[in-house]
């Protein structure tokens, strides 16, 4: 070790400095903030150290609403988007002609700006003095009653939210899954065919296990991504998410820092750490399940 001396550390220095300043220090600082009670950012003073910030956040109805919204979003969108992505990838994998064309079509949303997508969803769902939105046109056409998806009942708003999230995360998942499907050794399928394996059995016993590492990867990143949802909500429901009842945990953190009711970095820090704990727990569970299930 000694012989190598200082040089390796010198090479690492730039990365270490940046990671230290922008990753490690803020992480540490958030933990400090979250236990400083009555912290005042102007005077840089606080009354004492304790768990009050956490207690406050966990009793705050806005936070509980955000927590509920986030969980619903996660539980619905992660399985739904992964499932749809798998179906589409299987379709893409099995066609021969226009494969590249369809791959491009399905990947386009990935490079489209979130806010632009939000605008399109507004046109689809928003009620204006002139129109009920495209979705309501469809609903009334089949004999239903128009629903206000943006300012209406909670389930309608949640539907739009989930629909939007699924649509936004699909392209990346499709991309990952099509490449995973393409990387399965063609000979495995040939061997299965020689043995007279049914298509369903080929899918469940060969294809699915072979791409399961990628599915797990998508589920984990999907969970993390959905827990961190915020900008998509703003794109659809505007900046006052609490009023719309559609806030998320990250949205709550933002509001506590900079929103109209903001200026409470300690509450924000506490909420952020609660989110961190949730994501960490879910990821650990995922990894444990994965260890048991995969190759």
């Amino acid at each position: 070790m000694k012989a190598r001396g200082i040089r390796p550390w010198l090479y690492l220095l730039p990365a270490l400095v940046f990671l230290g300043i922008f990753m490690v220090y803020p992480l540490f600082d958030v933990m400090v903030y979250s236990v400083e009670e009555g912290y005042n950012s102007a005077s840089q003073t606080y009354y004492g150290i304790g768990g009050y910030n956490y207690a406050y956040v966990l009793r705050d109805p806005y936070f509980l609403q955000a927590l509920k919204n986030t969980f619903i979003l996660v539980i619905i969108t992660v399985p739904v988007s992964t499932g749809i992505a798998l179906l589409i990838s299987l379709g893409l994998h099995s066609i021969d002609r226009f494969k590249e064309f369809f791959q491009t079509v399905f990947f386009l949303p990935y490079v489209t700006n979130t806010l632009a997508v939000g605008l399109v969803f507004m046109i689809l769902f928003k009620k204006t003095p002139y129109s009920d939105g495209f979705m309501n046109l469809l609903i009334t056409a089949v004999g239903g009653t128009a629903v206000d998806f943006i300012d209406g009942p909670y389930w309608a708003k949640m539907f739009v939210m989930c629909f939007y999230t699924v649509w936004v995360v699909l392209p990346f998942k499709i991309l990952i899954l099509t490449s995973a499907l393409a990387s399965v050794d063609e000979n495995l399928y040939k061997a299965a065919r020689v043995d007279g394996t049914s298509r369903m059995r080929i899918f469940t016993r060969i294809t699915l296990p072979m791409i399961s590492p990628m599915i797990f990867y998508l589920v984990i990143t999907g969970f993390i991504g959905a827990f961190k949802a915020y900008s998509d909500e703003v794109a659809i429901f505007g900046t006052d998410l609490n009023a719309a009842g559609m806030n998320t945990i990250v949205g709550y953190v933002y509001d506590m820092l900079y929103g109209d009711s903001g200026g409470f970095p300690s509450y924000a820090a506490a909420a952020a750490l609660i989110l961190f704990a949730i994501v960490l727990t879910i990821t650990c569970i995922n990894l444990l399940v994965r260890k048991k299930a995969v190759i």
């Binding site: 000979n187 299965a192 065919r193 020689v194 043995d195 007279g196 016993r205 995969v294």
Partner: protein, 364 residues
């Protein structure tokens, strides 16, 4: 089970769309494989041997021609209804399944009356595993095994359904040299024990010759020669077969026939070719056809003597030979050290003459 191939032909559309003409992978292959034999399909890459195997297997439909297993026409049957077992070059083991699960996989596909109980499946899997001597490794995953062991699992999986025909696609090419020798003996043993008609594909002539009952030498989709390995080696029908079989390869000379005598350059090396008309020919001489002889007619420049344990090979040059001549000789016959020249007499049976233009064999 006897396999009969009747005018088997496979054409593919050319990948280059500008070329309208189809690629002919296999051209008019007719052959009857006797029951219980081990057949080696031998040829360089792209000669159509794998395509032939895939057609016998049923993975690819032939463009024309018929395939019979015994009295059954299987040309239009899917692979699972033909009763074939196939071993792939890459083994194609299911990496997420254990050896037992891999071997049981084909059995689990059986439906209806053929359906087996779990106990029957395990019993059959174990029996097959014993045959290929991997019964100790039933609970391992493929990634935890050596290449040779994986190969055995692949063979077991192909055999477990007791197929009528066993097909092996380049079964040894992913193994290292030592394992290759071992495994080919193993394939021979398993084939003998089960008595199953077996076709295997290889580009390695040594492999094909060492274990096959019969070899089929293919080139560019066309069958060149079919026969017992030694017979094909000793009596090649054309230059391609002569060049393809044998290590070290056959030595080729620009030669000439004048008045029933064979001349290599200025040296008259052989007599008695009276039936052959005068003119230029290609003479192929097997490495073991050279006998060092102080008074021999073939005078070569000595380049090197390589002693490799059992064999000694003499590397020499001759104006009529484009490359180096490699002769395998008895150790006591090696020329003295410092010699510039070596003279050979030839074993007539090891000298083959070929037409210079068509490469067809000219028989003496």
């Amino acid at each position: 089970m006897k396999i009969v191939l009747e005018h088997l032909t496979k054409r593919y559309p050319n990948l280059n769309r500008k070329i309208k003409e189809d690629v002919i992978a296999v051209n008019d292959f007719t052959f009857e494989i006797p029951d219980g034999q081990l057949i080696g399909l031998l040829g360089p890459s792209g000669c159509g041997k794998s395509t032939t195997l895939n057609m016998i297997c049923g993975l690819e439909p032939p463009t024309s021609g018929r395939i019979w297993f015994g009295d059954d026409d299987v040309t239009n049957l899917p692979p699972e209804n033909r009763g074939v077992g196939m071993v792939f070059q890459s083994y194609a083991l299911y990496p997420h399944l254990t050896v037992r699960q891999n071997i049981c996989f084909p059995l689990e596909n059986l439906k209806g009356a053929d359906r087996l109980t779990r106990a029957q499946m395990d019993e059959m899997a174990l029996e097959t595993a014993r045959l290929v001597q991997i019964d100790e490794l039933m609970d391992r995953k493929p990634s935890e095994m050596s290449g040779g062991q994986q190969q055995r699992v692949a063979i077991a999986r192909a055999l477990v359904k007791k197929p009528r025909v066993l097909l092996l696609d380049e079964p040894l090419s992913n193994l290292d040299a030592r394992l290759r020798l071992q495994t080919r003996e193993e394939i021979r043993r398993i084939q003998r024990e089960t008595g199953i008609t077996t076709v295997f594909v290889t580009h390695d002539q040594e492999e094909a010759m060492s274990i096959s009952d019969m070899i089929v030498v293919m080139e560019a989709g066309v069958v060149n020669q079919i026969g017992k390995p030694q017979k094909v080696y000793d009596d090649p029908v054309n230059l391609f077969v002569a060049k393809f079989l044998g290590t070290p390869p056959i030595n080729l000379f620009d030669a000439e026939i004048r008045g029933g005598r064979l001349y290599l350059g200025g040296d008259c090396v052989l007599q008695g070719a009276d039936s052959v008309p005068d003119g230029p020919v290609v003479a192929g001489i097997r490495p073991e056809g050279f006998v060092p002889d102080e008074n021999g007619p073939l005078v070569c420049g000595l380049m090197a003597v390589e002693v490799m344990g059992r064999d000694t090979s003499i590397v020499a040059e001759h104006p009529a030979c484009g490359g180096q001549i490699r002769a395998i000789v008895d150790t006591e016959d090696i020329p003295p050290e410092g010699a510039q020249q070596v003279r050979f007499s030839l074993r007539p049976a090891k000298v083959h003459l070929f037409d210079r233009d068509t490469g067809e064999r000219i028989r003496i």
